[in-house]
């Protein structure tokens, strides 16, 4: 088991394997998303309260889910990087941050677009999820700003990992405090937990979208990781051999 991890974590090995793996993530991901989009837009029957506007959840929910997962990945990667001094783990954080910020942005914008017909406003402070997502976006900005303002890569890795770990504790506190706060102000929520059970024709496309987005995210993360690894290892022997080899190493 350990041997497997060590092999995976060795940069040249990862660089080669990731190239092979990317299509294996991207193709099923795109297929699931294609099915989810078609079934979500045209097959699922309209919600009895929200009408066709509910179809926005097929983008909003996967994006919101990935925005949090990306932060978790960043924090776990940072923790592993700090404890076991694994350089690849730090690279994961660097690659996941812009992706996470993008999905947070998507979740915010789609939530806001949903709010326009439902609440009659583009932004509703009373909604705890949108507010938490906004704070999460700021956390991503802070992480990326810290990373970019430290020139030395090793130092930037460690400093931003500490920030990610502090942030992940905070994300939980943010969530609960915002829920408490909105309950004071009788806010409405986008999708209630334990609400009326979803019909199968609504639910399956959503599950397909979530799974599809996750696969797609994996592929995107792997592609960014390859760039990170290549850049970080630019002075090493294996990169030289790769670049000088006749078939190239793009």
């Amino acid at each position: 088991m350990w041997k497997f991890f060590h092999q995976m974590a060795s940069p040249p090995h990862f660089y080669r394997i990731a190239k092979v793996l990317i299509p294996w993530f991207a193709v099923p991901g795109l297929m699931l998303i294609a099915y989810g989009t078609y079934a979500g837009l045209f097959v699922a029957s309209p919600d009895y309260q929200q009408g066709d506007a509910f179809r926005i959840i097929y983008i909003h929910v996967p994006a919101a889910y990935l925005s949090m997962m990306a932060y978790m990945i960043m924090a776990v990667g940072g923790g592993i990087g700090l404890i076991w001094r694994l350089k690849l783990a730090h690279a994961v954080g660097a690659a996941a941050a812009p992706l996470g910020a993008t999905f947070t942005f998507l979740a915010l914008v789609t939530g806001s677009i949903w709010g326009r017909p439902m609440w009659g406003t583009w932004w509703e402070w009373g909604d705890p999820r949108l507010t938490s997502e906004l704070i999460l976006l700021f956390l991503y900005f802070g992480y990326m700003a810290l990373r970019s303002s430290i020139d030395d890569t090793a130092k930037a890795d460690k400093a931003s990992s500490v920030l990610a770990l502090v942030g992940v504790v905070n994300v939980v506190i943010v969530h609960y405090s915002v829920v408490w706060w909105s309950s004071l102000h009788q806010g409405q929520t986008l999708f209630k937990k334990g609400g009326p059970a979803m019909d199968a024709d609504m639910l399956y496309p959503l599950l397909a979208m979530i799974l599809g987005f996750t696969f797609l995210f994996g592929a995107m993360l792997a592609r960014r990781l390859r760039t990170e690894v290549l850049y970080r290892e630019r002075r090493t022997r294996w990169v030289r051999d790769l670049v000088m080899s006749p078939e190239g190493g793009l």
Binding site: D151, D152, A154, R235
Partner: protein
Amino acid sequence: MTAKLSGKDLTLIRGESCLFKGLGFALNPGELLLLEGRNGSGKTSLMRAIAGMLSLEKGEIYWNDIPVNRQRQEFHGALVWLAHRTGLKGDLNLVENLRFEASLRPQGNVDLAAVCDRLAIARLKRLPLRSLSAGQQRRVALARMLLADVPLWLMDEPFTNLDREGRKLVMELTEEHLLKGGMCVMAAHQDIEINVPVVRVGL
């Protein structure tokens, strides 16, 4: 091979350049480790690495044959570091500065008055450090080093800002410390005249 302080296979990469690679040293009581090299060759970095403030790309520093990372507090209790910047507060006077240092570590039985007399800073005791000259401030830093009464001295360019008399004093103090069985790591680009065994590391 057992040495009190040793380093094995030390490699440090800073940004784009490799400062040293596969470097090793061993130091025993009564010896002086002299780090030699041009400006920017990594003397200060190596010293910071020895003090445990820089993580190395590869290699390990040992104190009593145990890696210092595993016994940071014990190791730090046995060393004092005379750095490029004095690490003293300009707003506080000599006595206040030294009292702060004293409260951070158990003190040996070294007499403050005697140390101040020796370093010729006794009459500056009540002045804020800001108003002293650079050379006088360095003498205060030396006083802190003497008061700590620990076996290992790390001295980064100890002669800067000192006049001839001061330089001579530093060499005398170092020699006494080594003859008592202490150890010293010194980075200097000047010639030193100390009659003790010297281990040289070229960078």
